[in-house]
């Protein structure tokens, strides 16, 4: 069972972690929680992979909360940065992951939750105990920073 779920869970942990070692740490704790609470899994509420994904993300956010502080920032509107998609398509996945990992820790988490895992700002705010405005601010900051870094790859 662990072998079958390892790749799926490790890919999630890798997105939230800043390196492989932290991803392994997150994954270990997530699997321990999964095995201990597997009796509470309710198939009617969703598939097993979705349940495991929540466990891994929650464990990742716990790690991030322990290591970073989410300041309360408000943002109502922000300009959407212009990024050349061709650059992203031509860039290696590992290089893109490194760019995302260079974001500030809180901004990194908000960007991954919103852009990769499909969380809404409301859900992000509830998960990280921040306001929706703060979540939007982090997303805006992530887009600005990534625009600069991706455009820098062009050079």
């Amino acid at each position: 069972m662990y072998r079958q779920l390892y790749g799926f869970a490790m890919a999630i942990a890798m997105r939230y972690a800043i390196d492989e070692h932290e991803a392994a740490d997150i994954l270990g704790h997530a699997f321990v929680k999964m095995f201990r609470s597997i009796h509470s899994y309710d198939a009617t509420k969703g598939n097993f992979h979705g349940w495991l994904k929540k466990i891994v993300i929650n464990e990742s956010l716990d790690h991030i909360k322990q290591r970073s502080q989410f300041s309360n920032l408000m943002l109502d509107t922000a300009e959407e940065p212009h990024v050349n998609n061709d650059i992203i398509e031509r860039t290696d996945a590992a290089a893109i992951l490194e760019l995302v990992r260079q974001l500030p820790r809180a901004t990194h988490a908000v960007f991954v939750m919103y852009a990769i895992d499909g969380y809404t700002h409301k859900e992000i705010a509830a998960q990280l105990n921040i306001s929706e405005g703060t979540s939007k601010w982090h997303l805006s900051e992530a887009r600005k920073i990534l625009q600069q870094k991706i455009n820098a790859l062009k050079i």
Partner: protein
Amino acid sequence: MNEITPYEQLIAEKLHQVPVPDMADGIWSSIEMQLDAPADVPDGSDGSGAPDVPNAPAQGSVSIFKGIGWYGLAGIVAVVVLLWWYFGHKAPEKHERPSVVPPAVERPSVVPAPVESPPAPVEDSHTTDKPGKKKIVPVAPDEVKKDTVLFRGVPKDSVRVDSGARQNLLPAKTDSSSLQKNRIPIPDDDPGYAPLPVRPKKPKGVKGITSDDYKISAGKDSLKKKN
């Protein structure tokens, strides 16, 4: 702002393509350790429930043994404390006992101080006071009593002896009044007591009065005046 931009979708696709490092074995070992650590206490093993049965009684016996051990240790400690307390308090009592014996010898000497007549009540007061004193100050009174006996034997320094005895009898001063009343009838009854040499002090003032007058005048007057 609330929509995912095209480049973010591209980034998401790229991130899903990120190769996963082969750390499954290392992570699994850590998972096993974390699962076994708390699981050893209740189960003993993760998979089968068979080992649970032997583990449970073993732990129970160990806990019972530990409990007995603690009770044993507590009992030993309690016994040691009781013995220590018993001998620690008994030792001073032994010292007091010898002191109690001399007071018996002193009784005659002390009794004479109140003079011939009141020996009976005086002796009673001493005896009642002495046991109380034994518990409080056992050693000091014993030495004094011995000294008084020795002084009596040599000369008739009854004054010194009486003073010493009265110091010990200070609480019994209230009895002295009653003793004066009783002195008259008792002196004839106390001839058995040897410590007569002390008698001369108090009898001196009383000798001038006859026995009948002394009984009437002394008892009534003293009481009326006091009251």
